[in-house]
């Protein structure tokens, strides 16, 4: 008896993925903008000579100039500085909220899908209740009830976003749990926890990661919206939404105040969406061309 493994002559997997990634210019643009944002957020103190909260009353509401690229606000703080520090906040908060929510949602969804039955039903009904409300309205209501603060805004966002991940993970799990390797693991007498964490979650995580990327844009927008409505980050925190909130009053005469934070919100959420779509094409075998 002898068998030799066939050496498949195929390019490395990353090469194939890169090839498919490259074919989609929008994804590239999204990715590129996000990299810029991340660099900006990471090196914020090096990119600007100002502090985000250093007041300069002699220089209030100055229009964009070489010294203040994006102008200054009503107490003379440099808007460019505040916007890039805002990137730090929005990206940092956005990513941590979505990643944590995504992981918890995946575990809940995978468990609900794997066991099914009454347990699964109850969990899904709870998620349906959350989903029944418009996202923003529910997030606003929750934040208002918990008290306006950045932390509470994030908690509220986590609650309104979790059903997306639970549903996704559950529906993927329903497929995975019928795979023979899951059945095989059951026949060995392995525990359900082992099966869920070693077989189910690793096999449903790809669509979750895609969803996380797509939802990041959404969440950044939500954080900003809550900030704008005065429910999220409170002044003087350099948060984009909160900045627009104040800048709005000056919009007619000092357009730059609200425009630049707004532009960054737009860029960040669009880029995440583009990148998410690209990743879906990349990682999801169903869209393999």
């Amino acid at each position: 008896m002898e068998t030799k493994a066939i050496e498949l002559k195929q390019p490395a997997e990353w090469k194939i993925k890169w090839y498919r990634f490259r074919k989609n210019p929008l994804t590239l643009i999204g990715g590129f903008v996000l990299i810029l944002f991340i660099i900006m957020a990471a090196f914020a103190p090096l990119l600007t000579p100002y502090e985000p909260d250093s007041i300069d009353m002699s220089n209030r509401l100055a229009s964009p100039s070489a010294a203040h690229w994006f102008g200054t606000d009503e107490v003379g703080r440099d808007i460019f500085t505040r916007v890039i520090y805002g990137a730090r906040l929005s990206l940092g908060m956005g990513i941590s909220v979505v990643v944590v929510t995504g992981l918890i949602g995946t575990i809940i969804g995978a468990t609900a899908g794997y066991f099914g039955g009454k347990f699964g039903q109850i969990i899904m009904r709870i998620m349906d209740v959350i989903l029944a409300f418009p996202t923003l309205v529910l997030a606003m209501a929750l934040t208002a009830a918990l008290g306006p603060s950045l932390f509470n805004a994030m908690l509220a966002i986590a609650i309104v976003k979790i059903p997306v991940f639970v549903r996704l993970a559950r529906s993927e799990t329903l497929v995975v749990r019928e795979r023979l390797y899951v059945k095989a693991a059951k026949t060995f007498g392995l525990s359900d926890i082992w099966i869920i964490f070693r077989h189910v979650i690793p096999n449903v995580i790809t669509p979750v990661i895609i969803q996380i990327t797509i939802d990041l844009g959404d969440v950044i927008l939500l954080i900003a919206t809550l900030g704008f409505l005065g429910l999220g980050a409170q002044p003087p925190t350099p948060e984009w939404g909160a900045m627009i909130h104040t800048g709005w009053e000056y919009f007619l005469n000092q357009w730059w105040y609200a425009t630049f934070p707004g532009l960054f919100i737009f860029l960040a959420s669009v880029s995440f969406n583009l990148l998410g779509d690209g990743l879906r094409d990349l990682l999801d075998p169903k869209s393999l061309k």
């Binding site: 002898e2 068998t3 030799k4 066939i6 050496e7 498949l8 002559k9 195929q10 390019p11 194939i16 090839y19 498919r20």
Partner: protein
């Protein structure tokens, strides 16, 4: 000659680079005969069928060859002209019957549509012919079945309907790609019998593509054995199966458990199924061949006639020629 494929070569373009999936395939079909194309995964048997129908994927490229059907080269026809041939003169039956059926249309209507399109009869006549077509494929209550949707039928029934559909034009050539692989043996036996009857009654030629040598033995007049995108052995069925002269065909037949006693180990073709991405320079069967020589590694074998109506593509053709009969 009714249909003739000459030196057909097909390449797939993909991110893996170019992959040759058919290499210099030549075969022919006479009027009213059933030929078998038999092979395992990666042999190129389905690609051959799809090329005839002009149904290859967009990434496939026909690099060489001709497909002559009634003096026309099918490869030079426009998409429109091919479309006209498909269904009317050339019918097809696939492994999965649902691919050929419209899930939202009643069976009777689907068949009647085809009949009306190709036979230029009025609706009433088409309905009558539909019932007759369903009867032809041994459906006991054709009126009832005609009123049903595809999902209401069992797999065997659906495949019968597909055959009725493929036969309704009526075509002159039917290409059946693993038509019974998804079916149970008892139903397979009925479907094969049916195809054979239709062939005899209406003079239809059939190209049957299968991996099952038993199926070939039962209904094919002639057979082509494919391996790695090439035809390695061809000839009349009896000759090819009983006096197999190519080491692959021989190995394949010897590795079947049929007729072996329980205490004799099966003869084994070593190695794994052919991988087209790993095409050798010489003979495609080299890596698994029990009688290979140095020459086989470097040079592709030529076709040799070992007997009347029996050819193989092998450098060592004489080895098995006078061997005992296999079955």
């Amino acid at each position: 000659m009714f249909l003739q494929i000459k030196n057909l070569s097909v390449t797939f373009n993909s991110i893996y680079g170019k992959t040759d999936v058919l290499e210099d395939v030549s075969l022919h079909v006479n009027k009213g005969e059933i030929i078998g194309i038999v092979g395992e995964s990666g042999s190129g048997k389905s690609v051959t069928a799809l090329s005839i129908l002009g149904l290859l994927d967009r990434n496939a490229e026909i690099t060489n060859g001709e497909i002559i059907y009634k003096d026309k080269n099918l490869l030079q026809l426009s998409e429109k002209e091919i479309q006209l041939l498909r269904g009317k003169e050339i019918g097809m039956i696939f492994q999965e019957p649902m691919t050929a059926l419209n899930p939202t249309m009643k069976i009777g209507k689907q068949i009647a549509n085809v009949i009306q399109k190709h036979q230029k009869v009025n609706k009433k006549e088409a309905d009558r012919l539909t019932i007759a077509a369903l009867k032809d494929v041994k459906i006991n209550d054709p009126e009832e079945v005609a009123k049903k949707y595809p999902f209401q039928l069992s797999g065997g029934m659906r495949q019968r309907v597909v055959i009725a559909l493929a036969m309704s034009a009526p075509p002159e050539l039917v290409i059946a790609d693993e038509p019974t692989t998804a079916l149970d043996v008892t139903i397979q036996a009925e479907i094969l019998k049916l195809m054979q009857e239709l062939c005899e009654k209406k003079g239809t030629s059939i190209i049957l593509i299968t991996h099952d040598l038993g199926v070939v033995a039962n209904i094919c007049d002639r057979v082509y054995v494919m391996y790695g995108g090439k035809i390695v052995e061809e000839g009349n069925t009896k000759q090819v199966l009983m006096k197999s002269s190519h080491p692959y065909t021989r190995g394949l037949i010897e590795s079947l458990p049929e007729g072996k006693s329980q205490d004799e180990a099966l003869k084994v073709l070593h190695g794994e199924s052919f991988n087209p991405r790993n095409r050798p320079q010489g003979c495609v069967f080299y890596s698994r061949c029990p009688i290979r020589t140095e020459k086989c590694l470097h040079e592709q074998p030529t076709i040799v006639e070992v007997n009347q109506d029996h050819k193989i593509s092998c450098w060592e053709a004489e080895v098995y020629v006078d061997h005992q009969e296999l079955v």
